[in-house]
Symmetry: C2
Subunit: 196 residues, 2 copies
């Protein structure tokens, strides 16, 4: 029983999976539920994804890309203007996006937090991409003498790691408790001293 004659695409499956996931949450979502939405048999989904884990990873990966990587890339890709400002904007955008999703897109964030623990490979790739963006900003700053010279990628990684508490999902419980804004401001000032 197929929905229509068009062949089933990966993106259609991801759309359905994301929709079901948002409705039922990551724990209560089964492959059969996803298949039902698409009006196909669950066996069909296994022609497109190796396993349920692979499907979850794909959903998370796409979500991370569109809601985190793309917006940040727009900032990192800008040319001209102050690198320091752009660096700060990039970090604030990352942090706000994570904290906003943790509060509002709860089911997706729960899945992402889970995947972070399980799918180490996929997450390191994602993190590496983000660090590359940071390095891009930092390189520009070095070129314009706005920032101290140094190995942009090491420094980018250090900046990313030093701000983990504000964007890593395993700290989500602490967000919204203390003075996140003030804490970030202090860390930023400290890092800035090492950067300029």
């Amino acid at each position: 029983m197929m929905k229509n004659d068009l062949p089933l695409s990966k993106d259609e499956i991801l759309d359905a999976a994301e929709q079901v996931l948002r409705r039922y949450g990551p724990d209560k979502t089964s492959v059969v539920d996803v298949a039902k939405v698409l009006q196909v048999s669950h066996g069909t989904l296994y022609r497109h994804f190796e396993s349920k884990a692979a499907l979850r990873e794909a959903v998370t990966s796409r979500w991370l890309h569109t809601s985190i990587v793309v917006p940040l890339d727009a900032i990192a890709g800008e040319i001209g203007g102050s690198s320091v400002d752009r660096l700060r904007l990039w970090l604030e955008t990352l942090i706000q996006a994570k904290q906003k999703f943790a509060a509002e897109d709860i089911e997706m964030f729960a899945m992402y937090a889970n995947v972070t623990v399980i799918e180490v490979e996929m997450i390191s790739t994602h993190v590496y991409r983000l660090i590359k963006q940071l390095a891009q900003i930092i390189e520009q700053g070095m070129a314009s003498k706005e920032l101290k010279q140094g190995d942009s990628e090491s420094i980018a990684r250090a900046v990313f790691l030093a701000t983990s508490r504000f964007h890593h999902p395993s700290h989500a419980a602490e967000w919204g408790m203390g003075n996140m804004t003030e804490d970030f401001e202090n860390v930023w000032q400290l890092l800035l001293g090492g950067l300029i």
Copy 2:
């Protein structure tokens, strides 16, 4: 049925609890198990601790104090010598202690990681104590002009937060994966730039 005529002390109970906990792990340890070791009835323990949670908290608190706070206090309390060196030593000692316990004293570390999530009050007190130690080192550095002037406590807090990834228990899974040593070195260099 008492072990002997001496009245039961809190420390005796904590010793027994810690022993049972190390043997069975935090999940499988019951108040009755602890009472059995002490050869008293479990009701007796409730004369000394309000609840099982309070007992767990007390065990964790004592463990944190002797294995983390005291050794670090020795470093923070030293007088003379380079503050930068002491600061680095303090951080390395904290990080090594945490990572060592995560690997070797698995049951106690599991309980501590758990308590970190549940007993927010107790952990903030502990963290505040550590930040005070850091501030002490930083103040000395400021007095001797080794470090830039500034609000020592804000800076201490920023240093602590910026190094979270290396000592916060919710990152324990990541320890022993990548290049923790190199990553810390890079973060340290970055922070140092902001400090001196």
